[in-house]
Symmetry: D2
Subunit: 348 residues, 4 copies
């Protein structure tokens, strides 16, 4: 018997990724779909402009899309709702007893809401008890971070543990899919770089400190480092490539740093969660890797790939970091969160 | 009577840009073309796979390409030779009395060779006298910098003068044209970012200090700041967009910094050199500018466009900088160097 | 004294092209702009997301956009309105005495409305007298054809005259800009071809016969040939490239056919209209031209470029035809129509 | 025990596809690799610039590449050699007893060499006996067609059988990968269409008639229809999309035509060959499908997808046809040929 799940915002691109990744999932099965007024009452096949490169799974084609105010009977809910819209709906469902794994930014920075990457801060799930007690909920809200913060935070986990990160300067080259659909007009994308993504840099500059923070007395003490981010849109379909420069409290030599990244394994690997990649961090030795198109699917889009580790003349080290923005950075990240919670008995 | 000029490496992409920019030039006219063995003896039209988007100028079509060992009678020579090849040939011609304006990297960092951007360090042309004396040449070699170093160095000129640059961290998103022709295979370019360009970062990390250095006792004292560069190839045709973070000895407020950039004018503007843009630095206020495709042609490809000036949480300020890599960053930069030298009577 | 003109639908991409092409025009000057409710009352600079690669002309920045029901005092009006919206508004203005040069499809196929390419059917302007008489208007509506029909129709003019076209089969590879802005989502465009453009094929299969038709007794007798069109969207920014196969009543030899295309000149060239290209048809000899990016700007975007003329094993000849879709195929085509009408004294 | 196979031209892009598709194959395993002088003697990992988006299979990394004159002990040989080079080497190996499945064009049109698509003309394998007898070989050469001819020929098989094809006019929009690596320079590809591919049209205009021809008295009587092809290079990575117009001896109605395509099954499906797609032809009903990126991987790159079937005003019907050029159109097609031969006991 699989756990029945609902997907909110099911017709959008992140919603489609949820449905794609849940197709054939060993633990979960899609039982309900929710959508905006425009879609509610229609079949999923009819209401959805499916944009992914694999076909729409047969199992969802005939499901009737429910409106955002519907009552659900699925223990688990994935939210691909746009920010602003997500806030209220997710709270209503958590209050009604559902575990909501949300990709939306609305609740990410709230003190009692886990902002979770299972390889990074699984212990933050203890906040759920706090959240339930404070808010009187039987369900819960758990969030995954912004897609651009995801890869760097995974890379920083072993580095922060071993050497104490003090500064991170990053420049992103982000995929078009990050803007959803229709998203970036092609007339703005072809033969162009847009050096700005509204609202992105503040998220990237604050979310990692929460994830790498320490749970103490029912709240999270932010990790004490500073981030400077510059976010750019480049003409690639999927995959956020980022150039990072990092300073440490205790600067390691290059071999030690590289080993820390390469040897990193964490709870999802230990638990063999269905969506966990064997290697959360893949370190490439070739001078010209990772490349966006060739490496974004590493670990079925769940690994973060690192390359070009070398000294930085200004901070301590610099390197390149690639993460699939709509898999690990969105639906896949949220799914892995749910798998961890399920493995830990947080819902059934 | 226009000055007759020769173009070395005339069939390559930078050579083509020289010929394109010299078409209709008020002071100079193309009188000789040099090429490799493969091309020598053939007409330019026959030997050249013209790749630019404007037609091949009629005036050069019938010119017979000379071999690299030919004797020239043009006072001025532009070199679009590849590095390694350029070194010997340029020296032979300088020794023979020609003024060689070179885009090649071979001689850039030699102590008595000006590495010149007319808006940045026109006084470095005094090195020519040193060069001639030391080497016993009647001609001279003057170089322009690497395309990726060009825009940032122009932007740093007024900032360094006013506030004393101490650190520069930059990440580039470079155009495909920078790799020449055939250059980057399309199968590597489409839907991809390659986070590596062989040999590029060392140039970008050292050339600006020479250009912003001080001429003292017949040699250049390097400007005392450190640069960290990360160079990436993105799928755009022309234009290098770079994200810069800068620290200063005397940190200005935002308005003062912006005004220093916006108000910058220099000798080429004063002399009204034919290729000098009215504004060497254009500061854009919109949050999403400069964009590579939309702004690379500003000032006919000779202006550097700056945007998104804001505080950097790690260094002092960060901003975006765009420069046309094959115009200002290559043939156009070299041409402006020649115009300055001509205006100053260094050849006739 | 220049003729004052208004632009309807001024904020869209075709509207922007009108404004770009009218900047510095020797006969016309922009005096009024109209826009939708969303834009009306705001300055053009404020209301417009300018997407072209040259800057917004200074002269229009401060113009206040009028609503679509405004009264105008400009003799000439260019319409960049979307189809459906255009119909009523254009009729109101024609009734009120304005000459409306429209890029919209609404009135193109009406019996008393000229569907005009000045090189193709200038004599169809005689329909204006019919139109005015029948409708009781003091103004007039004149239309230019669909962008995909434009290049082929220009190419067919000399061929139909000399050899009698009987069949035309064409396959288009159309630019993204043809869909307007935001138009095609980048997620649909990169690394993709979409073999369908809604509503396009019927226009391409019917408009050429009207333009190449014969004015007889105040109406146009359609040219008696049949067209089969297949329209595709490919990832290029501007320029529609089309593969044509043509059959003739009197099949010429290759040299005669080529000469007919190459030697074609028409009334706009004779009158030296400001936007008329010296060569309406440019025939390229190289095996791999025209190429979309390299040839779309030929004749400042007003020439149609033809190449690869050769025998077709099924019809008689096949060749490639390239036309700039938002210049000759939209705003530039409409502007040339207005220039012809002005030269012929149809308004002042 | 798997059949040991060799791959000729193993380091190129088609060679890489062979190796990718053979990884984990149920019947065949890579035992030998051959390459040019430049590669011979080096390990595959060292000699190969791997360009595909999945990692190089571990099993081949350490294989030492043999020179083209080496002796092989594998019953089966796949040839990814470039044309011209392929001819002699393939003959030497066939003479020496190897079954050579070749993607090269050199032998395709020879009278006693099968030009094979298993769904189209499996009976042409009878030519092998003729070939062996005439040439005194113990091995054999079997070829697969040009990538651009492959999809249309598959689509024509059921149509020709039922309705008798008389004319085919096709326009292709071909992927960059078809030119190999480095292949098309990115500076020619981005924002561009090149309406020419050297040597392509003659192949497309002649190979289908051989494949759809009738084996009679030990030779193939060409199918009596005429083809006109226009081949274009568009900026997509993989997948050739083609617009076809077809005339028939016995014109069916639309439903009958569609059913003939949709219901087509052939020998590979019956034999359940490992690489055979369940549906050789997939018919899409949506107006905007197939799209290159979204449908090229249908049937793991082995299905041909058809869409937009409709009447053609000039010939009888027109439709769109998409086939993966480096899978079904190259290495995958050759592999399916080998599977059919193995299933029929032509080697062991």
């Amino acid at each position: 018997m699989k756990v029945r799940v609902a997907v909110l915002g099911a017709t959008g691109t992140v919603g489609q990724r949820f449905i794609q990744l849940l197709d054939g999932h060993p633990w979960f099965e899609v039982a309900a779909l929710m959508g905006s007024e425009r879609s509610a009452g229609r079949s999923y096949a009819e209401a959805t402009r499916w944009v992914l490169d694999t076909p729409m799974p047969a199992a969802v084609r005939a499901l009737t899309i429910l409106g955002n105010e519907a009552t659900l009977d699925t223990p688990l809910v994935f939210s691909a709702l746009p920010s602003k819209t997500a806030g209220e709906i997710e709270m209503r469902l958590a209050r009604a007893g559902h575990v909501v794994c949300s990709n939306a930014s609305d609740h990410r920075m709230e003190a009692d809401v886990p902002l979770l990457i299972p390889e990074v801060n699984p212990e933050h799930l203890e906040l759920i008890a706090v959240q339930r007690r404070r808010r009187g909920w039987s369900g819960a809200i758990v969030t995954n971070p912004n897609c651009t913060a995801t890869g760097p935070t995974m890379a920083l986990r072993p580095l922060h543990d071993a050497f104490g990160v003090t500064k991170l300067l990053l420049v992103s080259m982000q995929a078009l899919s990050g803007a959803g659909y229709p998203g970036v007009p092609s007339y703005d994308a072809i033969d162009n770089v847009v050096p700005y993504i509204g609202g992105e840099e503040p998220k990237v500059e604050t979310e990692p400190q929460k994830m790498l923070g320490t749970l103490r007395d029912e709240s999270i003490e932010l990790a004490p480092f500073v981030i400077s981010a510059h976010c750019n849109r480049v003409p690639v379909l999927e995959g956020h490539l980022e150039c990072l420069s990092v300073a440490f409290a205790r600067t390691p030599d290059l071999a030690t740093l590289t080993a820390a990244l390469r040897d990193f394994r964490a709870l999802p690997q230990e638990l063999k969660l269905p969506s966990a990649p064997p290697e959360p961090l893949i370190v490439r030795e070739e001078p010209d890797r990772p490349q966006t198109r060739r490496d974004r699917d590493a670990g079925r889009g769940m690994s973060t790939t690192i390359g070009r580790i070398r000294a930085c003349p200004i901070l301590d080290y610099k390197f390149v970091c690639l993460s699939h923005n709509t898999i690990r950075g969105a639906a896949g990240g949220s799914l892995l969160n749910a798998e961890l919670m399920y493995a830990q008995g947080l819902f059934r």
